[in-house]
Symmetry: C2
Subunit: 248 residues, 2 copies
């Protein structure tokens, strides 16, 4: 395994990230989180593990909705510190822990949740196996990641993401089946994400003894498009993919 990536503890990255997220007018708040909430099972009385919990927004939400116990883990000490200030709750415990270190956890959970964090992890098969081991029987895994059609394309320097022909937008697509590392510039240079296609994601889930219940691909609501017009292009190339599966 390569060194565990912890870009959120890079000071420049974290400052940029904070200013984007705090604005609330972003794709997470307007597109991703609403779909995740629609996909959630009943939370009342459940134990929940939140992987890559960040500042703890969803961990606290679960507790407010009746979860008995929530454990939020994140590799970044910045995030865990921020979570303990901003989203403190008596039923929530935050731990600084990388997703690669899941086997150190000993208890099992009813729900494992992760919002936009899995595309940072190199060994996806192992991650899903480790999660399956942490789920109670009939436990639910629910996660979002960047959509394969969004992570796929390897562009040449300075090249745009799309072109327009007769007023219609067309995104450039390449390397869909070319699984692996994508180094991108996002807040800072050299953030590493891993592109995976549906084959890799779904087969990892099926092979770990989980049954797929639902897949979603991001759309923007009319309200979101009113706030950020370019979100209408989710119709052409979705940002996010969502997966829900049950331990059998």
């Amino acid at each position: 395994m390569e060194k565990i990536q912890n870009v959120y503890d890079n000071a420049d990255f974290f400052a940029e990230y904070k200013s984007m997220r705090d604005g609330k007018i972003n794709a997470n708040e307007l597109i991703e989180i609403p779909i995740m909430k629609q996909m959630l099972p009943e939370l009342e009385g459940k134990t929940i593990l939140d992987l890559g919990c960040g500042e703890g927004g969803m961990s606290q939400y679960f507790a407010e909705k009746g979860a008995k116990k929530v454990v939020g883990i994140d590799v970044s000490s910045n995030m865990i510190a921020s979570a303990n200030v901003q989203n403190k709750h008596q039923n929530v415990q935050y731990l600084q822990l990388a997703m690669e270190e899941l086997p150190t956890l000993t208890e099992k959970f009813d729900i494992v949740f992760s919002s936009l964090a899995f595309h940072y992890i190199e060994d996806f098969d192992l991650l899903i196996k480790n999660i399956s081991n942490l789920l109670n029987p009939n436990g639910i895994l629910i996660f979002s990641q960047e959509h394969p059609v969004t992570t796929a394309t390897i562009r040449v320097d300075g090249m745009a993401k799309y072109t327009e022909i007769d007023g219609k937008r067309y995104y450039f697509l390449s390397d869909y089946n070319n699984i692996g590392k994508r180094e991108i510039s996002w807040n800072i240079e050299g953030v590493v994400k891993y592109h995976r296609n549906f084959e890799v994601v779904i087969n990892a889930i099926a092979n770990a003894g989980l049954m797929i219940l639902e897949v979603r691909e991001s759309k923007a609501s009319p309200e979101a498009i009113k706030l950020v017009e370019k979100y209408k292009y989710q119709k052409d190339r979705p940002f996010f993919a969502f997966f829900k599966a049950k331990k059998i």
Copy 2:
């Protein structure tokens, strides 16, 4: 439901199709069928329904591999006539029947198979429900279809499928989440296919009481690329998607 499409009984279409398929140097023979064969479960002693069996190549293959009984259905009388000449086998029965007419079948099967036919069907949810009703417990559904990234894009008249920048090929992608009819020119004008994304396909399978076992996205083997160089672009934009699921 719209009128059932039966383009293979159009004389011009069928002549074009025959000359392409008979050549054996095509994406079905070199890319699609090899992957389908890898995904097949044990066939010995099984009963198999082949949906959109065409000229019966796979139906006969199943019988040769030990299937006890194979029923091949196709909407096209041209195809059924051809199957009865070219791929006759004592364990295979060919029927002229549209996939929309599946509820008229009364027996159940161990395996339901379909090669590149489902994208012609408008009501996919109903199709998968009807198939689920025809499967024995633990029965297997296995099918291929055109890949969503290949069916998605709605191009303006005469527009190319891709562009090249610095010697690298980029396909144009639009309308990925814009589910529905695509009228294309393939052998003749006005062939209707239905674009569906992974969300629609996977959720239909899950909602019909089937458990996803495997998803594949087409790659070309080195041997196939030696015969047809452009198949190397399967890496950038796969032609086909494959799904395998089990009745629970």
